[in-house]
Symmetry: D2
Subunit: 407 residues, 4 copies
């Protein structure tokens, strides 16, 4: 065997499924996509799941105690490297799972080659994703709670300023900064409720479902689930596969529900901070300018929050379309769902953070609000006062309407 | 006043917001749309909510006991008429709310004109929708539970027949009719969990939020909420408006999640009942024919279940897009969400029912399944047996792979 | 045979694919859906295509001259009945194609049974749809041209009123009613260009492609295409099937492109007719009121135009998802595309008509516009004047920006 | 001024809209997004447009001949640097436009500060995008034509092999490899027609429309349009802004239309290359394996082509949602459309290339196809033969149907 062949041989060893033929280079690039980049987020979770898996394999006698201890040590080493950004995944590795197994095999020899006993890349990916999702949920929850706190502080400080309330984008009835703010506090409260229910879905351990048809071996699924902190085992292996799309969509729906609240808030702030209204004031440091028009101070950040709702929606929609009309069992199509969900988390977390900053510095212009409290806003009250005195409401309504007819 | 004018006057009285000018006829048609048809589903719920509202108005002294009793009686009469399909909503009525108020006013005079005191059509629509949603949820839950029962019976009877398991649409590992069936039982279980959480969202009473800015009057919201059986009051009036889009999408997401399960099941059944596979057999009475090809028996019903997933998705997507980039407070855009959600319920309920029928008559062809259990399905097991004897899994894998190379 | 059986027999004769077994009633309802209602729009086109088909069958000797003449006469009779709304399609008929063939058979006996020679319901549906589409395109074109005319008249009359131009929803530079109007005239011009290209797609005759694999018979496709006024034959039968989804989406994309223009126009008009701006005035007869707030005059029609964009989008999206991940050849899923496209046409035609009405009566409030022409709008011009005198633009920009800093 | 301040001053100079205050760091990160990365694709086009703009400024006397020559030279230098990957855009630059202007100013002083005279970043971005789009169209057209050629070669070589044709995923009538292939050749032909019409939309020069309200200066738009090779000037400045969303969607619709063809083709190939059918054979080098199951050879590349359709769709959908419900004039939301369109091009080009590779090596298994040509496929022909002999088709159909009844 000459040197060139040997090198190629080594490269080929990188694929978990290598069986001695080479994939067309262009095809390889197309199939790997950005997975080797995206998977940086999963290294830690794959290692944690592999540690649990190794311990289980030792428990059922497939690994010796020594092999298990070596693997655990090495996996912790990778976690450490990864923390420092020092664990690389090459495009040729395809994904983090291959890179990790290759690293273990290189360092430990046979023990490394044994780590994949009793699992498939399918359940390996799934368990890493579930662990990753649960961590993201924690971050999300914490950011949402902070957002609520900042909103509450804003409401407490500036909430009792009167402000016109609009329907159909026309002045309707008296509102207040507090009423407006509370709307979003309550909306986030319901998002937290949705977050809880999606967490329940994800809090099932898919490790041990293999490629969707179980593992013909006496593995201990309760053990790994419990080691990894899951509340329960995701039992049916075929459902583990089906759930990948279903759960991805559930997560993205949660994220788009949050983004819808921000979209609404941003839409309000953009309109009502127009100098023509002036109800809200945005701090200058949040506004960007124009390259042509010297006077401009634009609410770009709010416009982008508004737009990012549609980005998250499009991820949701992509997964919804992608996993349809396909038969049960893993289909490679699902690979693309990874980026969709990751981007969804990224954008939503950033958007909540940014809106929290905005509300922290948001100012209600009391004077402009007061000036805007014109008579028409009290028309309903007038009619209701008449109704309280016994005039049938519909008659009172018409009487007041008469007063407000255009001259 | 001549006769013609009087007639027009009468017609104009139909609009809740009438103030003495006429809407362009073409514009009217465009704005009313199909609401007068869709609203047939809401008559009962609007009456129930109006009964609670009337009682509350009596409690706070706006209505006399007599007025209240008359209104309640008349509203119950409408419920009765509606049950028999005898309560008509004309296009000129715009919606059921106008038709009902007009009916009350016609029958009771001033008492009818008083029913709208302290509420807006906005919260009136919302509360009717919430009541309607909660009823639909009950139907849906019951249908899902029936579906699970039929699936369980199928699994118990035919579940232990072996069947090839596929990944990437290629034979992978041994599966069984039971494994396959359980996947969907578990999927529905998670849908029921989602149903629970969406029910929690909807189980808030929006009556009393007026047009989004509350009602400047001492109404008793706890009372109406409790009369109508809601667990809690949806407090913030502006959130009541915002929640219309948010909750519609949450409902449609639930429905599309259920439809995704059915889409997957239909996709499996269409493929595996192809004569080329023959794993499943569909009863003849579920198959339709071709107008040209005399031999054909087509699984149309399954294809349509598959397709209806996309219909439900499109409703979800419509509401998601429609309520974005808009400011707080009611915008008429939301009118279109009504049909989207109603259609979502209709299609999903029908699809679950139809799939229940299909599973009831579904037959696993044991012989065809057995014939399909070829050697390759056991390759993984072979490698794992070697792994159990100490051969590193990756080496065992390559050895077995060698055996399965194409000649 | 007793009477009951005979009746059932007769009923069963209604299906083109009838071969002697009965479809489950619930399944039948599910599969037929609303087709028997939707198909009312296709009766005429199916008859026209059947006339061309009958003539062709006579030409190649399958029908006698007499049979052909009888069929043509009877089909023309149906067209006449349909015009008067007197040709009924019962749910049991499934669709107009069955109803028409049944009518012909009932009236003409064997000649009716021969009409389906050499075609399938698949190409029969396709050709009727293409004819229907081409007619709708004509209507659409005419409505768009009228809309442009009304826009031009508006521009000619009120176009030279100055108006602030906005970017980021902040005053930017001077604009005018004419600049604004011309934007939409030009947008429609590009829509007409798209309409032309989609017309080219549809202007191919699919009749004769059978069920997607041609017709094993010497039919004359050029003849029927030319009889029906198509520019060319859609040759490949499998592509005829694939094109159903592809073309439906192309049509819906055209419609959503038009609706996007209207969405933008409606968004502008809703904002700038707010009393806070007052640039535009909507005639009272286009505004609806509130059931609670006596003073309100709401731009509902514009809000609904805005919302209907999302409805059309959702139809587009439905077909895009529905026809994906499926193999070639007809799949029943495509049935649902019919309603999607029909609704798309309906809503778009109505929306263009309604916006034409709006523009006809639209008024620019010259005074309010003039008042809004504040200094900042001229900042760019100021900087450019300095630039013309040799000051580097970037320096001029900063100098002017300094002037407009918030105090 | 101390050193720190000076540095900050220099950094601030990087923004085109800088007017002396600093943007919050987190906000800046959020608003810039990945633009500084995406814009690498636009450097060349921005330089080309800037060259035309500089020449025009010289023509109308705003730049001296020397200034113009210097700018042109420097812009050509940047094009050269960019070609070698040596022109960097830092995140602090925001985008390529700022980086380029900053470079010019650094190298040329006042001439650099003058380049932005008479244009806005808005029309600068638009013109660069149009030039970029037109180049991508050229690539796309060339790839589609190559794809057609490869398909034709495949059809010529293996096209006359008979193959079963399917409808409803059930055997229907005889088809052939040629019929199948021609379907996609014709589909691509129609895509080329759509490409032509979208090219017509894009082939309008937006340079000179400023920020959407024109440039109050005597610029020569015909001159720059012609210098840049555009067929016509995109006249209305407000439409230039509106067209950004409209045209982005038109492009993405074209791309998704192409991807739909590939999705269909991939779906066919995945099914019919299953060993259970064996009509098509995929070369081993295009197949990937499983990490667990040693025997597997999976059509991953086809599954990903199938899935990428949904990715392109999701980009289309994102832009469609994002640009709705917003008023005229630039809104920052549109920034996100850039990535959507760029990704759309990237994925579509790669997918067409990959499918071309696949077809180049695709093999029809003549024997397996022949074996699959069972009697039922000829049922229609049988009925038609009877019809030719005078038996009414509907009677012939029923007679043949009788023969094919399940035993």
């Amino acid at each position: 065997m000459n040197k060139g062949t040997k090198k190629a041989e080594e490269k080929r060893e990188m694929k978990l499924w290598d069986k001695g033929y080479e994939l067309d280079r262009q095809i390889e690039k197309y199939t790997v996509g950005d997975d080797y980049l995206l998977d940086r987020k999963l290294v830690k979770y794959d290692c944690l799941a592999s540690i649990a898996h190794a311990k289980m394999l030792a428990k059922i006698g497939v690994l010796s105690k020594k092999e298990c201890a070596d693997l655990v040590k090495m996996l912790e080493e990778i976690i450490g490297l990864d923390k420092k950004g020092a664990f690389a995944i090459a495009p040729a590795d395809e994904d983090c799972h291959t890179a990790i197994e290759a690293y273990l095999t290189k360092k430990l020899g046979d023990a490394g080659k044994k780590i994949h006993t009793g699992r498939s890349r399918n359940d390996q990916v799934l368990v890493a994703l579930h662990l990753y999702y649960l961590d993201e949920f924690k971050k999300l929850k914490s950011k949402l709670v902070s957002f609520q706190k900042v909103l509450s502080a804003f409401r407490n400080k500036q909430g009792n300023f009167a402000m016109p309330g609009y329907t159909h984008m026309r002045k309707a009835m008296p509102s207040s900064a507090g009423l407006w703010t509370q709307c979003f506090i309550d909306a986030v409260e319901d998002d937290l409720l949705l977050l809880e229910s999606v967490t329940q879905l994800i809090d099932q351990c898919p490790l041990g479902t293999g490629a969707g048809y179980g593992v013909p071996m006496a593995i201990d699924r309760e053990y790994t689930a419990s080691e990894l902190g899951f509340s329960r085992v995701l039992k049916n292996p075929l459902y583990a596969q089906h759930s990948r799309g279903k759960f991805s969509v559930a997560i993205l729906h949660l994220l788009s529900s949050i983004m819808l609240d921000l979209n609404k808030m941003a839409s309000d702030l953009i309109l009502f901070s127009m100098p023509e209204f002036g109800f809200f004031e945005l701090p200058e440091k949040f506004c960007t300018g124009s390259s042509l028009m010297p006077q401009k101070k634009n609410p770009d950040v709010l416009e982008l929050v508004r737009a990012h709702y549609h980005a998250v929606l499009s991820h949701e929609f992509q997964v919804q379309g992608m996993c349809a009309n396909l038969i049960s069992g893993y289909n490679r199509d699902m690979q693309l769902s990874k980026e969709a969900v990751m981007k969804g988390f990224e954008v939503t977390l950033a958007s909540v953070a940014v809106m929290t900053l905005v509300v922290e510095e948001l100012v209600v212009n009391k004077e402009r609000c007061a000036q805007a409290m014109s008579d028409e806003l009290y028309a309903t009250e007038k009619a209701l006062r008449m109704a309280e005195k016994g005039v049938p409401f519909r008659d009172a309504y018409r009487k007041v309407a008469e007063e407000f007819k255009r001259p």
